[in-house]
């Protein structure tokens, strides 16, 4: 299994250093790479908190990356759904992931965070046994 660190993805999407971009491009476009959710989360934080990137731009870019045939993501559908909550509800990315866990995996989420709880309450899930 080959995994890339956050900075490989950040250099690739920002293209702010041509030599590093070329190395990142080779890895991300030609190698079989696994990208854990932890790396996705850190990429989001770097782009949002450091580079002040618009959430919708982050979503579009990472979802484009997730379409690469040679890249595999942990719980791809979870990651895809998390960006809906991240952009539409403007939640912190980890909170958005928790919402995706509820919607996709039917997980019960407990939190003291009122804002998160408000969003969680609005998520309707379809139980496989309720037909």
């Amino acid at each position: 299994m080959r995994i890339v660190d956050t900075n490989i993805i950040v250099r690739y999407v920002l293209r702010d250093h041509e030599e590093m971009y070329a190395k990142a491009k080779t890895l991300l476009e030609e190698q079989e790479i696994f990208i854990p959710l932890e790396v996705v989360a850190e990429v989001v934080y770097v782009l949002e908190k450091v580079y002040r990137t618009e959430r919708t731009d982050i979503r579009e870019t990472l979802l484009t990356l997730s379409d690469y045939e040679n890249l595999s993501f942990y719980e791809h559908d979870l990651m895809t759904e998390s960006f809906t909550f991240y952009c539409d509800e403007r939640l912190d990315y980890i909170d958005a992931l928790l919402c995706a866990y509820k919607k996709i995996k039917y997980a019960e989420i407990d939190s003291f965070d009122k804002r998160l709880n408000n969003v969680l309450r609005q998520i309707t899930t379809i139980d496989a046994d309720d037909s």
């Binding site: 920002l14 991300l28 450091v50």
Partner: protein, 82 residues
């Protein structure tokens, strides 16, 4: 015996199969069978759009050293508002 045959590419630990409606309430047997694939000499990127440089309008190399503190900053900002 009802049966369906599907071909899907596994990308995560979860599969969404809308065709399962007809089996609701039934006990089913699930078999995952890997299809043989033609060996590739080099992985081929088949996606139409590239993410490379998609966010280049935000680049600022003076911010590089802040990258390692991004997660910490996110946590501080999140809990500062409570």
């Amino acid at each position: 015996m009802e049966a369906i045959k599907l071909t899907k590419t596994i990308r995560s630990h979860t599969l969404q199969i809308s065709e399962l409606d007809q089996f609701q309430g039934q006990t089913v047997e699930i078999i995952i069978l890997a299809l043989e694939q033609t060996p590739r000499t080099k992985p081929v990127r088949t996606q139409k759009k590239s993410a490379g440089g998609m966010l280049s309008k935000y680049k600022n190399i003076e911010l590089w050293e802040q990258e390692s503190h991004a997660w910490e900053r996110a946590v501080k900002e999140k809990y500062a508002n409570r």
